[in-house]
């Protein structure tokens, strides 16, 4: 009798393995401090895979999605990645959600020849380019280019920057200083702030005394909202620009009326309802928004879009070259003109992100809501 059960057990297992032919792994920060990133990513990916399997899958083979939670920790992401490639034997991995985790597993992914499509923003993930490493979010540098492009068009040359003293602010500051020369912009003041600071009027009054044409603030969390208030308090007339890091309803709620007139670059999904009807991204964005919001009853965010694009890129690559890891990496590298949630992807040998600065829109706060400027 016992033997019979063993046999049945193994038959079930074998059957399961035989049917789940395409194994796709994913690592997201579903819980922990970055759960606001990881949760919508996981939900989006599961939704897409289910849909894909329902529609017949790839040549009749279904995708078996294995999602692990790294809890926002780099070491955990490493462990989970090793489990995915050694035990689960997946052919590609989507994620992780965070830059640190992505950087910590990128070498193993490259060495074990498993394509990794990261959902984290840092340029360092795909720069320098490695054959098996890709990412879908826009780099912070693109947001800087978008702002400078706008400033240049409006003839604003003397710019003051105020950046936060953390990873996000450092990346922004380097990009702002580095890119300024390419756009003929002069950085006349380079100030910093801490996320925990309560009042930034000292830095701002120093900036105001230099009379800049525009001020760029780079930070996330509550501090940029305090800066917006201080900016109004000091009555500085130069237009205020912020990073895509504040493109959330939360920022509008915190800063209130002080947010009026602030410019920022943001992904299309933030302003999907306000896009003109001829926008080529709009139908796709609306479709995703509707599906996501009816299924999960939470507002759609840009983060889920990263997972959306990752899966779509994977699907495209799978359809072109089949379910071999190296071939998928080859195919990913050659994807051109894929219009996704985040933007239009034109992958190449030297660019494993494939997005340009037009993946950002310039938006402005008006009546405590967003308004598309460009």
């Amino acid at each position: 009798m016992k033997r019979f059960f063993y046999v049945v057990f193994f038959v079930i297992i074998l059957n399961y393995v035989a049917n789940a032919d395409i194994k796709l792994g994913a690592i997201f920060s579903v819980t922990g401090p970055a759960s606001y990133l990881g949760l919508p990513e996981k939900q989006t990916l599961e939704m897409l895979v289910e849909e894909f399997n329902k529609n017949g899958g790839y040549k009749g083979e279904k995708i078996n999605l294995i999602v692990y939670d790294d809890k926002g920790e780099d070491a955990e992401a490493r462990k989970k990645f090793l489990r995915l490639i050694q035990n689960d034997k997946v052919i590609a991995v989507i994620g992780p959600s965070r830059t640190g985790a992505s950087l910590s597993i990128k070498e193993i992914a490259q060495n074990s020849k498993i394509p990794l499509i990261s959902c984290a923003a840092s340029k360092m993930i795909v720069h320098p380019v490695q054959k098996f490493i890709f990412k879908t979010p826009q780099s912070d540098e693109l947001a800087v280019e978008k702002i400078f492009d706008y400033l240049q068009k409006n003839g604003k040359k003397r710019v003051a920057i105020l950046t936060s003293q953390d990873g996000f602010g450092d990346t922004g500051r380097n990009a702002l200083i580095g890119e300024s020369k390419n756009y003929g912009i002069e950085i006349i003041s380079d100030e910093r702030f801490k996320d925990t600071d309560k009042d930034m009027t000292s830095q701002l009054s120093k900036i105001a005394s230099k009379n800049p044409d525009a001020v760029v603030v780079w930070g996330i969390g509550p501090a940029p909202a305090i800066i917006a208030k201080n900016y109004k308090q000091l009555n500085i007339q130069a237009p205020l620009f912020m990073s895509h890091g504040v493109a959330s309803k939360k920022f509008l709620e915190l800063a209130g009326s002080a947010a009026e007139g602030i410019y920022l670059p943001a992904g299309r999904i933030t302003v999907v309802d306000k896009l003109p009807n001829n926008d080529k991204y709009k139908p796709l964005l609306l479709d995703y928004k509707k599906k996501f919001e009816t299924e999960f009853k939470t507002p759609v965010s840009a983060f889920g879009g990263y997972a959306y694009d990752s899966f779509m890129l994977f699907k495209k690559a799978l359809k072109v070259r089949g379910k071999d890891s190296s071939k998928i990496a080859d195919a990913l590298e050659n994807i051109k003109g894929y219009v996704g949630i985040t933007g239009k992807f034109n992958m190449s040998k030297d660019d494993h992100n494939g997005l340009g600065k037009e993946s950002f829109l310039m938006i402005r706060v008006k009546n405590n809501n967003w308004e598309i400027v460009e």
Partner: protein
């Protein structure tokens, strides 16, 4: 001049927290590292009553203060009282542990996002000589002075205030004189917790409130208390404003990335030159 007003704005927040440290130090000789968390809880309770339940301002304040007063009592009654070996180090370590617990609970209840509390007085910019300040910040500065004045006279002139101080000087002698030391310890935590919530409620419209705020504001408030001299309310007030203004001054004159470095170098210098702080008192010990 704007740096001065900026310094006064953040300095008044440090000062209120420093005063909270001083109350507990004045009666028990302990440093309560959960003071910053009391501030956060105060802000969050204000958010809950005012923004979530939509209560009017006065009941919101009352609920916040009474809740925090009780939290202070629970804090002392249940956690500090049952420590077997009541050495100062043990008790201080427990306040650190409680700070971490409060932070975790606050995160679970209120989430990771910053919460905005509506302003109490009309939100406008008050122009002053060479700069400007927000009306909310002026309210905080005002309350700071009232609290310091009230507490220092309470501790100096009233019978109960003297009993609090007696506990600090010598607990055994105080017990012999008929002072209920246990009650006094309990109330010192309750008052400190109440004051923390006052600070938290007042600053929430200016700086918003996030569950991690307690770490940095606790640290800055502690530094302010040290500069002014532990145990002195006017010292705490002075230390807070000094720290805030020095920070803002360095942010204004030097690259602002280094402002904390300079501010804490000043703290070190003060401790080298005057180890008891500006208004610190020495415990007289008979040899």
């Amino acid at each position: 001049m704007q740096f001065f007003y900026s310094g006064v704005t953040s300095g008044s927040i440090y000062a209120l927290i420093a005063i909270g440290f001083n109350i507990i130090y004045n009666t028990t000789g302990l440093i309560n590292f959960a003071q910053g968390e009391f501030v956060v809880l105060g802000g969050m309770l204000m958010y809950t009553t005012l923004s979530m339940f939509g209560l009017p301002m006065i009941p919101s304040f009352l609920i916040t203060f009474i809740t925090m007063f009780i939290v202070g009592i629970i804090f002392e009654r249940f956690f500090l009282r049952y420590v077997r070996l009541k050495t100062e180090t043990n008790l201080i370590a427990i306040t650190i542990a409680l700070a971490i617990i409060i932070r975790g609970v606050a995160m679970l209840i209120w989430g990771r996002d910053s919460l905005a509390v509506p302003p109490y007085v009309e939100d406008k910019t008050i122009p002053l000589i060479g700069g400007s300040m927000n009306s909310q910040s002026i309210l905080v500065v005002f309350v700071c002075f009232i609290v310091a004045l009230f507490l220092s006279s309470f501790f100096k002139y009233t019978k109960y205030g003297k009993a609090f101080r007696a506990c600090y000087d010598d607990q055994i002698a105080a017990t012999i004189c008929g002072i209920n030391v246990n009650m006094i310890r309990m109330f010192s935590f309750a008052i400190a917790s109440f004051l923390g919530s006052l600070a938290g409620a007042l600053i929430a419209p200016i700086t918003f409130v996030t569950y991690t705020d307690g770490i940095m504001s606790g640290l800055k408030g502690f530094a302010a208390a040290i500069i002014g001299g532990l145990g002195s309310f006017w010292g705490g007030l002075f230390g807070g404003f000094l720290l805030g203004i020095v920070e803002a001054f360095f942010a204004f004159t030097f690259p602002s990335g280094f402002k904390d470095v300079f501010a804490f170098i000043i703290l070190l210098l003060i401790l080298f030159i005057k180890p008891t702080g500006f208004w610190g008192k020495k415990k007289a010990v008979r040899v």
